[in-house]
Structures are given as C-alpha cells and as structure tokens.
C-alpha cells in the first residue's frame, strides 16, 4: 500500500499518504488521491455512477499503478459488471484472467435465509480476506455494502459488524471505496457515513431544464485539504473524468508572440500581426457574416504552420464544415487527414453546460491543441449565469495552457452587442464584430475591432468579402458621408475617377494656356526688343551725324577765322 502513493506537491513526510485514483481531475481535487490504507465513502442516488467510479479506481490501479484490486459487488453479478464497464473500455475479464482483479458477487437473498440464533459477518471477512490474498490486493471496492441491511434483520449487529469491517480493512492496509445509496436527510440510507469518515465523496445527478449534469463533491477529507466545490464529472466511452476548475487566480503566463488570424488584412488591423498566443478571441456577427469562416481560416492558418488545432462544432458535422469551407478556398480536409486538425462535434442540447465543459476539457487534454475554435457559443441555450460560468472556465482553461481560443457567437440582428456577448466580452482579449451594412438595396459585410487588449489595433471599419480564395479585406471608401461599401463604394470610386480625370484635363488645359501665353509674351518681348534695337540704332546714327556736323562746323569756323585773318 505504500509504494504507489506519492504526492509530488507535498514535502512533509508526516502528511497523509495518498493513493491516486487515476481519474482525471479527481486526484487534483483530492490533492493526490484517496487516503492510503483507509476506507473512503462514495455515496449518491441511483444511477449517479458509484459503481463505475469504484471500478475505475480498481482498473486504473491495476493498469496504471500496478496495484491489484478486489471488487466485492452486492448488487451486480460478475458477468453483468464486466459487460457494463466494457462500454468504458475496461477489460475486466482480462484483468481477472491475469489475476490482477477479483470480482466477488455477494448475493444476500432474504427469502432464502432463515435466522436462528447469534451470527456475525465473519463469512464476509473470510471471503474478502481470501480475495485480497489471492491477488495481493491493495485496493478494495465494496459496492454497495448496505445491501446487508436489506438481506439480514439484526441491524444493531450489522452496524457493529460494519464498524468492525472498516477497522479490519484499515488493519489490512488496503485502500477501500465503500459505496452507499443516498438516503433521506443523510448521506447514506443506513447512515454508514458514521463509520467511514476519513473521506466522503458525494455524487449527484441533477436535471435542470431537461438536461442532466453529473456533479461530484468532496464532502470531507480528514487530514487533508481538498477542493470544496461541486465539480462536474463525466462518464462516457473513455471512462470517468472530473473537471476541477480551480484556477481562481489570474496567474497564467502571458505570451508576447502572436498567431496569425488567417486573414492577412486582419493581421494588419490588429497591429501586431495576429492574435496574442493564449488569448481568447470573440467573433460576433449576424447570421451569414462568415463567423465560422473566420474560425476556419484561423484553424487553417494554424495547421499550415504545423500546429494542432481542435474545432468544437456545435452546429455542423465535421464533414459539413469541411465541405462548406472548401467553397471559400479553405481546405480543412488535408489538415484533418494529416492529423493536425481535430473535430469534436456535438449537439449543444446533448448535455448540460457542465458536461460540455467537462467533455471539452477532456478533449483538450487528449489532443493537446495549440488552438481551439468553438463554433458557436451562442448555440448554448439556458440560464445566462450558467453559460457565463462555463465560458469563463473554458476561457480560463485555455489561458492556463497557452491555447489561443476563438469563439464565435451569433448576434441578434440589429443588436450585435447582445447581452450575452457583453457578459462574456470582459473575458475576451480580442473582440471582432462582423456586421451587415445595408444600403442601396444590398448588404455588405464589414468588420471592426471592438477591442484588442495590448495591441494598437485599427479603429477602422473594413469591408470584407468571402471569395473563393478565402476572406479578403477590401479598402473601404471613408468619406464625409461615412463608410461606403459594395456597389456604392464602386460608384464612389467611379465618381472619384471621373473627378480625377476632369481635374487632370483642367490642369492640362491650363498648362496649354500658359504655354500659349508664354509664347505670346515672349513674342511681344522680341518685338519690343527689336523696336528698341531699331531705336538704339537710329539714336547711334543721329549721334554720329551730330558729331560729323560738329566736326564740319569746327572746320568751317577755322576756315572762316583764317579767312577773316584772325588766325595766322
């Protein structure tokens, strides 16, 4: 009983030794497992899974921890039991044949038994002891020991014997699970919780709005801390798993790296080239705005980079999703066949929210994706608080694992920022709104970023088209009259082209005018200059004539003076 019970998170050796159950989540809840060498009580009403939890404990013990087990059944026969748990994938018969497990069916038929004088339950002890010795069992399940009360009459004696049995189990050092049927006002019908009080786990199967949710609660765990809330748990073809959502704090690691959205224009709009890794993205939009396509584009981009991606489809089957996405040029099938892309499709009404969450948790555990797409979260119908808490926990789960999660949600027409979205939007790091803009008798799709934490994202509305090559963002016309999309954008563009052309023509005309004017002015300048030159030439001529005349006058005077004899 000692070698397998270990608790990595505990340092002090004096603390209680624990035996892991091997049930996903339950061991975390119990901080390691059930108390080693002590009996634990699992109680609950009919059909809540006591027997399966007990059997899982033994099968996991034998297959995962090398601890053999004894299943003492007071209700079901060996064959029934192994057939019932075969649906969970447990090969009980194989374990029995390999001497790792003993199943002992104890049948107590009141009608066959006559009581005469004193007796005790030593026979049970002998059988149990023999079974334990046969396989060297460390684990024992007694399912449901209270059956002795209906088979035998002396309840005072039976109580004393049960008390002795539990003490005896402790002395044998086996870790035991005792199951008990839920009673009125107490945990078990015959109050055996009085005797098995080291660890008490309550299973519950509640129906709300016609949807059943299994829940588990650790009522008490002597000598150990434990999770105290009610946790959803799941029984399906892959066994039992409990979903403890204990990360109350916001201590998850953050990543600076981004992952592409799969839509090139959107990457640019986000300012950082994509969503932050580990962030939660909400894509809300009206019907037909391509929410799923955005999700698929994201998944496609992830798979192209060789990352594992998980799509939770709540409205379409995997084949349908793949076919539809092919029409917009997104080939998911190749990724699906390459094993990178996984689908989990389920009707949202199939389980309660808690069960969905538990299933998703398990699927995430199993496939270990780096990206998930939940399409859509609006498929869940029910009380707001429940949907909200489910999504909170799912987003939380992804954050703690660094999984980038894209959630799509259908918005009601005319009310994109619906009440439900507002409830979850605070959880989301990035919120992309898809909308229909109706004008001039057509609808056009636009997207905008309502928020994107930690990114200098665009505040612009962008028109996008779903084309055969995927989603393409189109440059929108943003003018004084608002955003123009679709044909009005085209018209606007045509108008702009016209205007530009006429602007160009006007410029050309003016250039020609100028040229002409320039030429005429230059011609005028030439004429003026020619006139000036002519004048200048005339002036020069006049000056030289004057000089010639002056000179002629001078000569004439000399001649006259000589003539008058004034000069010699």
């Amino acid at each position: 009983m000692s070698e397998s019970s270990h608790e990595s998170s505990r340092r002090q050796p004096t603390l209680l030794k624990k035996t892991p159950t091997g049930i996903d989540g339950l061991d975390q809840l119990l901080l390691g497992g059930l108390p080693t060498g002590r009996p634990a009580l699992i109680c609950g009403s009919a059909g809540c899974g006591k027997t399966l939890v007990g059997m899982t404990f033994l099968v996991n013990g034998a297959t995962m921890f090398g601890e053999h087990g004894v299943f003492m059944s007071f209700e079901e026969r060996e064959a029934e039991l192994s057939a019932n748990v075969a649906s969970l994938g447990y090969d009980v018969e194989g374990l029995v044949a390999a001497k790792k497990l003993v199943i002992d069916h104890v049948r107590i038929e009141r009608a066959e038994i006559e009581e005469s004088g004193e007796y005790d339950l030593e026979g049970l002890f002998v059988r149990l002891g023999h079974a334990i010795d046969t396989v060297g069992a460390k684990r024992v399940v007694l399912d449901t020991i209270e059956a002795v009360f209906s088979g035998l009459t002396d309840s005072a004696l039976l109580r004393a014997e049960l008390r002795r049995l539990f003490t005896w189990l402790k002395d044998r050092g086996v870790t035991a699970i005792i199951t008990g049927e839920r009673g009125d006002g107490q945990l078990t019908r015959y109050g055996i919780e009085e005797y098995v009080s080291d660890c008490v786990i309550l299973l519950d199967n509640r129906v709300a709005d016609q949807v059943t949710t299994r829940r588990l609660r650790v009522v008490k765990y002597r000598g150990s801390a434990h999770g105290t809330n009610e946790y959803p748990f799941l029984i399906d073809e892959e066994g039992v798993s409990v979903l403890p959502i204990t990360s109350v704090g916001l201590a998850h690691a953050t990543y600076d790296e981004t992952v592409p959205t799969g839509v090139p224009g959107l990457d640019a709009m986000l300012g950082r080239g994509g969503y932050f890794r580990g962030s939660s993205v909400l894509i809300t939009g009206l019907a037909g705005t391509g929410k799923s396509t955005f999700g698929a584009a994201f998944a496609d981009a992830a798979c192209r980079r060789g990352k594992r991606c998980l799509i939770f489809a709540f409205e379409e089957s995997p084949d349908q999703v793949m076919r539809n996405m092919r029409s917009v040029g997104i080939d998911l099938k190749q990724h699906f066949e390459a094993g990178l892309l996984h689908f989990e499709a389920a009707r949202p009404s199939l389980y309660g929210f808690e069960m969905h969450l538990a299933r998703m948790h398990r699927d995430i555990e199993r496939t270990q994706p780096e990206m998930i797409v939940v399409d859509p979260i609006s498929a869940f119908r029910g009380p707001h608080t429940e949907i909200h808490s489910t999504l909170v926990r799912l987003a939380d789960l992804c954050k703690t694992r660094g999984i980038t999660a894209v959630f799509t949600s259908l918005a009601a027409p005319g009310n994109v920022e619906d009440e439900a979205e507002r409830g979850v939007s605070s959880l989301m790091d990035t919120w992309i709104g898809l909308n229909d803009v109706e004008s001039n008798g057509e609808r056009n799709r636009v997207l905008y970023l309502l928020k994107s934490r930690g990114m200098n994202h665009s505040n612009q509305m962008r028109e996008y088209r779903l084309t055969a090559n995927g989603i393409q963002l189109v440059d929108v016309y943003v003018g004084p009259d608002g955003v123009a999309t679709g044909s009005s954008r085209l018209a606007q563009e045509a108008r702009e082209r016209d205007a530009e052309r006429s602007r160009k023509q006007a410029t050309e005309r003016r250039r020609r005018d100028f040229h002409r004017r320039q030429q005429s002015v230059e011609r005028q300048i030439g004429e003026l200059r020619a006139a000036l030159e002519a004048e200048e030439a005339e002036l020069g001529m006049m000056i030289s004539q004057d000089e010639a005349r002056e000179r002629a006058y001078g000569v004439d005077r000399d001649v006259m003076a000589e003539t008058r004899g004034l000069r010699k």
């Binding site: 002992d104 104890v106 049948r107 107590i108 066959e112 038994i113 006559e114 009581e115 005469s116 004088g117 004193e118 007796y119 005790d120 339950l121 030593e122 026979g123 049970l124 002890f125 002998v126 059988r127 002891g129 023999h130 079974a131 010795d133 002795v148 088979g151 035998l152």
Partner: protein
C-alpha cells in the same frame, strides 16, 4: 487446536449413524469460536432428534478453506446450508432456535407456533 479439532474438520461427519443421504447439510464456521461450537452442537442435536439416519453433515472451517466461502454465498457465520434436497436453503446463526432451524430445513410449516 484442542480436543475438538475433529468436530470441525472438513470431513463428512457421518461417524455416528449410517445415513440415507437424503439430507445433505453443510455447516460453515470460522475457527473454534464459542459460536461455532454451539452451532455444531445444536446441529448435531437437531439431526439426532429430527433427521436420524437421514442426513449427512459436513462442517467446513473457512479459516482452513476460505475459497469455499464464495461458492455457497456465505456472508454470515455460522451458516447452515441445505444442499440436498433442493432447493438450497440457508440458515444463519448458532442454530439455538430449533424451531426456526426446522422451518428453514422445511421440516416444519412456517406458520407453526414457535414456542
């Protein structure tokens, strides 16, 4: 083990009388507790008084052969099992209440007064 060892050996206890084997009774006990010894003594007395020459008694000590407990669906001890004639009957206790033993062995109507 003491002088009574032979009394609770797993052998057929047919030393006293030759029997027809009409009644095949098996008494399961665990060790030599006072309860066991009382049961054995009571069973012998009942056989002598009511089934003389008609029964075989087997006493099985489960401390010696615990593997036999599951086969006959033994829970309480001591248990007396009527293997023959069918149907199988079980009587638990130290057999001190002779009337109820006789009812259990179908030797007396259930409605018969007990005292």
């Amino acid at each position: 083990m003491n002088a009574n060892t032979q009394a609770i050996s797993n052998a057929t206890d047919d030393a006293e009388l030759p029997t027809t084997g009409e009644y095949n009774l098996r008494l399961y006990v665990a060790g030599q507790t006072p309860k066991s010894l009382t049961a054995i003594a009571n069973l012998r007395a009942i056989c002598r008084d009511h089934l003389a020459g008609r029964c075989t008694i087997e006493v099985i000590d489960l401390l010696v052969t615990p593997q036999l407990a599951a086969g006959d669906q033994i829970v309480a001890l001591p248990t007396l099992v009527r293997r023959l004639p069918p149907p199988l009957k079980r009587i638990i206790g130290n057999l001190s209440d002779t009337e109820r033993v006789l009812v259990g062995l179908d030797l007396r109507e259930k409605s018969a007064p007990k005292t």
